[in-house]
Amino acid sequence: MSIELRNVSKKFGGVTAVNNVNFSVKEGELVALLGPSGGGKTTVLRMISGLEMPSEGDIFIRGERVNDISVQKRNIGFVFQSYALFKNMTVFKNIAFGLKIKKWAKNDIHDRVHELLHLLGLEGLDKRYPHQLSGGQRQRVAIARALASKPSVLLLDEPFGAVDAKIRQELRDWLVTLHNDLNVTTLFVTHDQEEAMEVSNRIVIFSRGNLEQIGSPREVYEEPNNEFVARFVGVLNVLELTVQGGLARFGELEFPALDRPDGSKMRIGFRPFAVQISSDTSAYRCRAVLRHTFFLGVMLRLELELPSGLVIRSRMTKEEYSALVLKDGQEVSFIIKRYRILRGEGEPLSPEIHSGDTAFSTHGAGI
């Protein structure tokens, strides 16, 4: 194991920022710490680096307990959101800083810095000062500086937060390439679920100081542990239904709820892809008006307004959309093919329930 956290908690005054977290990262993994701001993910990263001390629990790096090892001695590379470059030093001196402290020989420093400049595509910029660089270049200098003394782990705090959208995409691709080349264990913090899904091998999801789920991008999307994860990773439509005579209803929508008493509430959640739309208003039982269509390149996002006024989101590919001949403002019919029953924020979800692709008149199909 490259990094391991055992029962780690952190309190600031009376506030618990991180609550009894356990997880481990294998050598060479690229892991995202994902969660809303204030979720505790940055605090976890800072505790691994040694910039913050855990209130309870133990942290291990490469099998060694590092709780009592100072940040200076942990040999980690840390990249800050603001890059935190030394403004009074050239790019070369920024990258060489850690090596000088570790008393590398002058020739070795020179070779190592130039190796990194080459690796990060910064050739020819060694004599520049940070203010003479673009945002993307500064980011890469910060990473080069963190990698210089061959750290056992690379920690990045919101590495792509401060650059514009196009460069962010480039940097993501580039981080994946870099990680493949160097194979250094890498942890990065992000609040952007798309970024986490795209870049990492595994995702660790935090909310209010608690670790909610660890898994591959596909696992956390398809098999979320609880409602929080389901809502945070990807889009989730949520409906609140009222039970009557063994059926949970929301307007024309009906779902089986055999064991629930009349008048009780039931909530369900479903992904946009689970909504199947037809331009033929009699194809499915439920009707809605197509309010807006958003083109997102290959994918389209559609907003359907139910008769009750509630808006649900659907997604389809460009091909599916062309085949359906849809236009905004048109009345359509739809079914929800797959859904889960929600039991509250931190509670586990029901397994996925399939409604079947047939018309919805046969209630309870596929249970």
């Binding site: 940040v71 200076q72 840390f78 800050f80 935190a84 403004k87 800083f97 402290i101 963190a146």
Partner: protein
Amino acid sequence: MAEKKFNVLPGFGLTLGYTLFYLSVVVLIPIAGLFLRVFEISWADFWRLATTPRALAAYKLTFGASFIAACINAVFGAILAWVLVRYHFPMKRFMDALIDFPFALPTAVAGLTLSNLFAANGWLGQYLAPLGIKAAFSPLGVVIALTFVGMPFVVRTLQPVLENLEREIEEAAATLGASRFRTFCSIIAPTLLPTLITGFALAFARAIGEYGSVIFIAGNIPNQSEIAPLLIIIRLEEYDYSGAMALAVVLLVISFVLLITINLLERWASRYQH
């Protein structure tokens, strides 16, 4: 035809005109007058008047004591600013307000208070006298007074820069293995240097121009503890306008050269900033 340059901020002509007018009335015309007046005497006379032994001693004291005072302020002002920005402690706001005291206090009051404190029978002077240190009515007294009036300049110029120091820069240095001391020497100090030079220059300039507080504590012994501005007054009181003007021009030229030098130094120190 030249195209009129478009600017979203109106009133450029008016404000520039006002700026030039203001600068002329307040700065350029008085300086020009001084030079014109001094041109009325011959070069040989000027040189004789400006380089009397008494005048040379006065320049030495004025610039020497100002320099020492500005150096003291640069060191202790920096420490004061550091403490006020970086740490939290009771009475911090009160202490912060006290920094401006030398700004607000009439210089004559400051001079009177300081000379009372440091006189051989004063509160502080009585402990210094047995050690053989003559704090009041000596060049040392001049340094004390100039240090007092210059102190806020260093603190107030450094404070905002210290407040804007990114915590993350220090943390970054720590993750790279740098000790606190190393971080301070390699990163914090060079970042602060240009501002420290500015604060030093302001304190220095203020000290050169200081008159009110100094004459109370200096003792004003010719060739010993007599500052140049006082010597100008003495010349005027003797109706020796040419002598006064010659001294004034020398003070002006030296001050100007010093300020330009300090400005260049500051530019060099901030070469890696925008």
